[in-house]
């Protein structure tokens, strides 16, 4: 049956069938009065000027539902993308693990009152009506939603994240351990890139979880200091400095670490870092 999504207020346990996602209006103790499907061209009706952000990641639409249970009320914003790449891009951009206060699983993180999750081509946000709502109270709902989403595609080889016009494909390398002489850097993919005639090395690795990524940055920072780096700069999610006349930086975003090294100047480092960061927000390239 064709359902006009604009007027779609399903009865209990009805489905949103035309978007490839099946969600009932009751999930365990959780209930929603209605599921609202907004195709890409109508997402603005709920998120207004933010809609274009998701469109750039290939959003097909937004499934919205206000869920409630004795444990509290949470609003679901489930963005369904054309592919897993787009979903990951939006997840990395918005649910930047380094900015979040906790990580439950590799693809579930958040702050008190908000939970982000990624599964295949779906990227979801759950936002509590009350800011102090503990995330543990909603993880059951997340698990039930994920179980109903299409199976996640297999994770891509991290090296695919380095496919960029500035990167020379022939220079792609892999280091199982001790990459660039750092004990903290393992399973690293790297490649040479040139931007505005300034060359540098881009590198990347994916970790099993948020805490592991944070630990890499912590250990890398210690090694950077031990090796005598100068002009060290650091913030919540990145650390860098100058070593033997070359600049380098390591950053993390949720379960991924990425960085630049061998940059000839701080300006070149910044240019390369910005380019890689923006590239990663768009996800890997097949």
């Amino acid at each position: 049956m064709q359902v006009d999504p604009a007027y779609f207020v399903p009865p209990a346990n009805a489905e949103v069938a035309d978007v490839g996602v099946t969600l009932p209006t009751t999930l365990g103790v959780w209930q929603t009065p209605a599921l609202e499907w907004l195709p890409a061209e109508r997402m603005y009706e709920r998120i207004d000027g933010r809609a274009s952000f998701y469109e750039q990641f290939g959003a097909r639409g937004l499934l919205y539902a206000g869920w409630s249970s004795p444990a509290g009320a949470w609003d679901l914003y489930l963005y369904l993308m054309n592919d897993a790449t787009g979903a990951r891009g939006a997840f990395l951009a918005e649910a930047n693990g380094a900015n979040q206060h906790f990580s439950i699983k590799p693809n579930i993180c958040g702050t008190p009152g908000t939970l982000f999750f990624l599964h295949g081509a779906a990227y979801g946000q759950l936002i509590a009506t009350k800011p102090a709502a503990p995330p543990a109270s909603v993880t059951g709902l997340v698990a039930r939603i994920i179980a109903l989403l299409p199976a996640a595609v297999e994770e891509l080889d991290p090296s695919t994240y380095l496919r960029h016009p500035a990167v020379a494909p022939a220079t792609l390398e892999y280091a199982e351990a001790d990459a660039f002489g750092y004990q903290s850097l393992a399973r690293i993919y790297s490649a040479q890139a040139v931007l505005q005639e300034e060359s540098a090395t881009w590198f990347i690795a994916t970790l099993s979880n948020h805490a592991a990524a944070a630990d890499v940055v912590r250990r890398y920072t210690a090694e950077l200091r031990t090796f005598g780096a100068t002009d060290i700069f650091t913030n919540d999610y990145a650390v860098g400095g100058q070593m033997l006349g070359a600049w380098e930086v390591l950053a993390r975003t949720n379960t991924m670490i990425y960085g630049i090294r061998d940059a000839g100047s701080h300006t070149a480092l910044t240019q390369h870092w910005h380019a890689l960061h923006m590239h990663l927000q768009r996800g890997p390239t097949q």
């Binding site: 009706e45 000027g49 933010r50 952000f53 914003y77 918005e94 702050t111 908000t114 509590a128 800011p131």
Partner: protein
């Protein structure tokens, strides 16, 4: 006698019918493409309402920045720094207050005006002897947005009234000179008001860099206004021409520094602990952009609005410019 505002919220069906009506109107006006091709919007052949300026004489070019941790105290300090609310609001005035209530998000996410800031603005106006109504036309269900944002409670507790947008309140209204010459707007409340006070919040915006004072007037518009995002800087400059407010109280208590205008995570919010009050929209918004780490040239509508004579970007050249602590 106290007037009772119409409180009928737009139902989803009404919104859709209005959108359908707008689409039909657009089609009659020459097709949907007419909007997007660097042409000014031509108002349909309907009566167009003009909103008169609300600025009080001899109060132009003023701004006070108040810093501290108590939002209500900062509002009082900033307004006191301008000479007190009595310069702007007189007994018997009908004051329309426009917060940013764009989304149904709780206040800690920074997507909407802080309740304590709005509440204090309403309280000051009520104490000055005015009838105060608070309105916004959010993209989501209006009442739901006012409830979840805490702005309904703040309004009522402070002695104000909520005026929810209803279809009958909208009329084709003259807006600006750049991209939107006329649009369906909340004209009835604006015609009702003798004074208009903007209470925007400081937040990032993925299309125009920052949503501050001038962008906040967007909430007076109806119809399929998302189309304005195609030329957002020109549209915001038009909005600055549309409303010449009596006063603006810029809320920088919680700043949505990333992922605006919706946000969604407390990690995107930083404490700003600042409130700025004034009458120069451009100066206030330039300050707001600075709070977000944006240089004026990164927010193109600031320069556009300045060119149009709405205000000035360099606040040191304002007639009155102060910083206070509270």
């Amino acid at each position: 006698m106290k007037e009772t505002p119409p409180s009928a919220a737009l139902t989803r069906r009404e919104l859709l019918l209005r959108a359908a009506g707008a689409a039909a109107l657009a089609a009659l006006s020459g097709g949907a493409g007419w909007f997007f091709h660097n042409r000014r919007l031509v108002p349909p052949s309907r009566t167009v309402t003009t909103i008169t300026p609300f600025l009080v004489p001899d109060t132009a070019s003023e701004m006070v920045i108040a810093r501290g941790t108590d939002g209500a105290a900062l509002v009082r300090a900033a307004v006191a720094g301008l000479g007190g609310i009595a310069r702007f609001v007189k007994p018997g005035d009908r004051v329309l207050v426009k917060p940013n209530c764009a989304f149904d998000r709780p206040p800690h996410l920074g997507a909407t005006t802080s309740p304590e800031v709005l509440g204090e603005v309403v309280r000051l106006c009520v104490a000055a002897g005015a009838l105060v109504r608070v309105t916004d036309n959010p993209i989501n269900d209006a009442e739901g947005c006012f409830v979840k944002s805490g702005l309904k409670d703040a309004t009522i507790k402070a002695g104000g009234e909520l005026w929810l947008p209803a279809p009958a309140l909208f009329r084709m209204t003259r807006i600006g000179t750049q991209k939107i010459t006329a649009w369906d707007a909340l004209a009835t409340p604006l015609v009702w008001a003798t004074k208009v006070i903007g209470v925007p919040t400081v937040k990032s915006h993925n299309l125009c860099g920052a949503s501050l004072t001038m962008k906040n007037w967007y909430g007076f518009l109806g119809n399929a206004r998302s189309r304005l995002h195609q030329s957002i800087h020109e549209a915001v400059a038009d909005l600055a021409q549309f409303i010449t407010p009596t006063l603006v109280v810029l809320d920088g208590m919680r700043m949505l520094v990333r992922n605006g205008p919706t946000g969604g995570s407390a990690a995107d919010v930083m404490p700003g602990n600042v409130v700025a009050a004034g009458t120069d929209q451009v100066a206030l918004d330039t300050f707001g952009a600075e709070l977000l780490g944006l240089a004026p040239h990164e927010v193109a509508y600031l320069g556009l609005a300045a060119q149009l004579g709405v205000g000035i970007m360099d606040r040191t050249k304002l007639r009155i410019m102060k910083e206070v602590r509270a």
